[in-house]
């Protein structure tokens, strides 16, 4: 081993660089785990509440509770960010933010479109069920965003659990009868397995 000035050897310098970068990445990744857990719990709880109310009253209008969930989630995220340790922004964190922002915009847009289409059909007297499966579209979008998040973070458990959760949710949707409130429970599978479980793994694996 060639000794260099300052008691740093070439090997030590390279090790120091690798360890510092790795430690910094872990600190930043650890902060990505908490939002996953938060949104996973919110999605699972909201889906369960909507299913219970929809089953009891027979009204699909309880789906508007998703908007309330978004508002509650935004407030919780703000509080979570304030209480978390401050970490710098990286290309990865920026990309994750954009992926989930577009998921939010697309799913809210689809939701609004379906209700608008329903309103127009009622107004002009067209009967019969809508030929769009909104739940399936949002499940697929959410699964895709979860898988992309895992790929961006280079964290396999997120990718794997997102793929598994999406497959199980889609299978569940195919088995359940069309129009049944039970179909909303596919979000419980997705919330727990695509968000909460990887969030917990991410937090535990990146602890100092």
């Amino acid at each position: 081993m060639k000794e260099m000035e300052n008691n740093l050897t070439a090997e030590n310098s390279l090790r120091l660089i690798a360890e510092t970068i790795d430690r910094s990445r872990r600190t930043i990744a650890r902060n990505s785990g908490r939002p996953l857990i938060l949104w996973g719990v919110l999605v699972a709880v909201t889906a369960t509440v909507i299913w219970a109310l929809w089953s009891k009253t027979g009204s699909a209008a309880w789906n508007f509770l998703w908007f309330a969930m978004s508002a509650i989630g935004a407030v919780c995220m703000h509080l979570l960010m304030r209480s978390s340790e401050k970490v710098p922004e990286t290309e990865v964190s920026r990309m994750l933010g954009k992926i989930w922002m577009w998921f939010g915009l697309f799913s809210t847009g689809f939701f609004a479109l379906v209700w608008a289409a329903w309103g127009i059909r009622c107004a002009i007297g067209i009967e019969g069920p809508l030929s769009v499966d909104l739940t399936l579209i949002i499940v697929l979008l959410m699964g895709l965003c979860g898988t992309l998040s895992g790929a961006v973070l280079k964290f396999k458990p997120i990718t794997v659990s997102s793929v598994v959760a999406t497959t199980l949710s889609v299978l569940f949707l195919m088995v359940m009868p069309s129009g049944s409130p039970l179909r909303i429970l596919s979000f419980v599978i997705l919330g727990i397995f695509a968000l909460v479980v990887p969030g917990v793994i991410l937090q535990n694996q990146t602890k100092r």
């Binding site: 260099m4 000035e5 510092t20 970068i21 910094s24 710098p88 922004e89």
Partner: protein, 101 residues
Amino acid sequence: MPENGKQFKPLDPLLHSELRLAVMSILLEVDSADFVYLKAETGATSGNLSVQIDKLQHAGYIEVTKGFKGKMPQTVCSITDCGRDAFAAYVDALRSYIPGR
């Protein structure tokens, strides 16, 4: 000169210091980092970190912005293109010291 005839490349003395190298390694990965984060990640004392940040800034390797976050003073550092090039050259030089590379 090493046995295989390969030349040892000169090492940038400014980067060949544990703390300055750690600071540069962190800044390489992020858009910018504040003093508190750099202190936590490197485990350095405030005084030592301030001195090393000054040296890197005077060499043009990093940019330092001083401001306020709320009522608290905040020092934010980010790596410059010159710093990125110097870091790449330093790593390249290090490799010439390792046999078989």
